[in-house]
């Protein structure tokens, strides 16, 4: 069991203020023009940090896998020169919900799979992470995918209690972040309150999958749900919002950009989406997933079947972002349960 301490309400601003003084800190803050909505961004002061917030639109994976990432720069000299431009500045990512911590762990596994790519681990090694517990809404289904109480990837984890936060110290780096003045010993009452928070949270999750991840993977793999895919895809606009908001999606595109002077430029990696029509297009015009239903089906299989089999856990953290973002109101829980029900009744496409 990790060390558990208490950071009082009074000590919280000082603690985060000191982290911000030490170096860049990214965390949830209110959007400038959208009061009540929060996003992960660099914090200017501890006042910017909002520790109790509803799930952000874009998950914190962007701290390590930015939507637009310069892989290297080049000069069009003879021979051409390639120049690494990786930012090595250490930073701290704070205020990460358990489902998003789990998302980071899943991307650790995906990017570390042989042959491991170099960018993700280099960026992960730059950061300390502080998790916080959360209050679920009607889209959350973390209890179905095992991420509800995740402490993955973080160095400290904070749970609200009456006199402040219970602080779980999970790594040596977490221990180093704390000063004696920040924390006090936790009492039995503090532990009990934190446990009550966790119990209440779990009880507040109302959405859920009607099968375990293992069973759902088997149902997907053995069944043919073409009719369901056709129905879902008849509503889908192939906009890719489900992918861009997903904490476990890691597909990308790579393109070159010229400088205006045409003497150099950069190779840029950008988020990509398997729902976009051209995602599986090859030179010569053949598209291996030309039809929308094939792309919708692919997304479900990738999240709950292919990657589940590869890594032993679904590539879904139950955060509900794809359902919140979907302009066609395609809900990941509803569709999954529709498939589960059809499979169990033997009603397949």
């Amino acid at each position: 069991m990790p060390t558990e301490l208490v950071m009082t309400h009074e000590a919280v601003p000082g603690f985060f203020g000191r982290l911000i003084d030490e170096g860049p800190v990214m965390g949830p803050r209110e959007r400038a023009r959208q009061p009540g909505f929060h996003h992960f961004d660099w914090l200017d002061s501890a006042d910017d940090l909002v520790l109790e917030y509803q799930t952000t639109t874009i998950p914190p994976k962007k701290a390590f896998f930015p939507p637009r990432d310069v892989l290297f720069e080049f000069d069009l000299t003879d021979p051409p020169e390639f120049r690494a431009v990786r930012d090595a500045t250490p930073f701290t990512l704070v205020g990460v919900h358990p489902c998003d911590l789990e998302g980071l762990r899943l991307l650790d596994d995906a990017y570390a799979q042989e042959p491991a790519e170099a960018c993700w681990p280099a960026n992960r090694a730059r950061a300390r992470i502080i998790g916080v517990d959360c209050t679920p809404d009607e889209y959350c289904f973390c209890t179905s995918v095992g991420s509800c109480h995740s402490r993955a990837a973080c160095d400290l984890f904070l749970t609200p209690i009456e006199r402040g936060r219970l602080v779980e110290v999970l790594t040596g780096a977490g221990e180093e972040m704390l000063r004696v003045s920040d924390v006090t010993e936790a009492s039995d009452e503090d532990h009990a309150q934190a446990q009550q928070w966790r119990d209440d949270k779990e009880a507040a999750v109302t959405a859920g999958l009607d099968a375990s991840p293992a069973e759902f993977a088997d149902l997907l793999a053995t069944g043919d749900f073409t009719d369901i895919w056709h129905e879902i895809s008849s509503r889908c606009y192939s906009c890719g919002s489900c992918n861009t908001t997903c904490p476990t999606c890691f597909c990308f595109d790579i393109n070159d950009e010229f400088d205006l002077g045409l003497t150099g430029g950069r190779r840029v990696r950008t988020w990509d989406s398997c729902q976009l029509a051209e995602f599986a297009l090859v030179a010569g015009g053949h598209n291996f997933r030309r039809l929308r239903w094939q792309r919708v089906k692919h997304r479900w299989h990738r999240k709950f079947d292919y990657l589940y089999r590869e890594f032993g856990t679904p590539y879904c953290t139950g955060c509900g972002r794809c359902s919140r973002a979907c302009t066609a109101d395609i809900n990941i829980v509803d569709v999954s349960n529709q498939i589960i029900e059809a499979a169990r009744q033997g009603v397949q496409g």
Binding site: P115, P121, D256, H286
Partner: protein, 294 residues
């Protein structure tokens, strides 16, 4: 730096996106759309590829694309790539001249399983530009002739003027220890060989199905018909090797573009056994119709 258990920063060129330099040392225009480039890494290091593997090739500003090696690994001082002008990058590569540079990273993927193919009869079936990656294998077999049983090359092109590697083709044809079968779909006055798609000459090839491994590369539409012919010759599904094309952006099984059901073509392939593709719905275009099996 903070240590995380399952995160291991890697400096290896095949794990990074930044290419190394290679210099063009030879260029041959093979057809209107196809150019053959001979290259050397600027470091002088041999890339040590296997036949069937591919390289990510860049022209800064134009981008990067996967291109199969078309030279044999037995050619150690340089390597060759065959480039079809189909887009901005490949068209710019047609303008390269000896002395010019490209960026390369790789090799990537699983090529042909040479160790398992040794001692067996090798039936090579090439359609169109599929001859490019297979040239690497054919020349490897030609250079290590005693390591293999029969060497059979079946090569179909659309027209006589689309045929590639004419010097190699003539050399294979002249060797007593290689059996060659050539066809074109649309013959002209100069053509004296067989007429028809690649399955036409393939049908006439007699093989010992227990001793034969088939290596097949061609356009997507070709695989199903070649599978039917090979199964009709009683070949085992496990002994049929198909190399597939997808859009590889990273080559490391990360970018997602080449995913075929649960497989990444760039890492698990591009060379697959027919049996690997049979159970996978996104490879359905290569499946022989059910009645053709066994």
């Amino acid at each position: 730096m903070i240590e995380h258990d399952n995160v291991s920063p890697a400096e290896d060129i095949t794990r990074s996106y930044q290419p190394e330099l290679a210099r063009v040392i030879g260029k041959w225009q093979m057809t209107e759309l196809m150019v053959l480039l001979r290259l050397q890494t600027e470091s002088g290091e041999n890339l040590e590829h296997e036949p069937g593997q591919f390289l990510q090739v860049s022209l800064p500003g134009y981008g990067e694309a996967p291109i199969s090696f078309c030279s044999s690994p037995t050619q150690t001082d340089s390597f060759e790539l065959c480039v079809q002008a189909v887009g901005n990058l490949s068209e710019a590569m047609h303008d390269l001249r000896p002395g010019d540079f490209v960026g390369v990273r790789g090799p990537y993927g699983h090529g042909f399983p040479i160790a398992e193919m040794e001692g067996r009869d090798i039936l090579i079936v090439a359609g169109g530009i599929g001859i490019a990656p297979l040239r690497s294998l054919i020349n490897y077999i030609a250079d290590r002739r005693s390591d293999f049983g029969r060497g059979i090359v079946v090569y179909g092109a659309r027209t006589p003027s689309d045929r590639l590697f004419l010097d190699d083709v003539a050399a294979w044809d002249a060797r007593a220890d290689l059996e060659t079968y050539f066809s074109v779909d649309e013959p002209d006055d100069t053509w004296t060989g067989m007429t028809g798609v690649v399955t036409v000459p393939l049908r006439g090839v007699e093989i010992d199905p227990d001793r034969t491994t088939a290596a097949v590369v061609g356009p997507p539409v070709m695989y199903r018909y070649v599978a039917m012919e090979l199964l009709a010759k009683d070949m085992r599904e496990d002994d049929i090797l198909f190399s597939l094309e997808r859009r590889f952006k990273c080559g490391m099984g990360k970018c997602g573009h080449c995913q075929l059901n649960d497989l990444y073509v760039c890492q698990d392939g591009p060379v697959f056994r027919y049996t690997q593709l049979l159970g996978r719905s996104e490879a359905i275009e290569v499946w022989a119709p059910e009645e053709q099996k066994g």
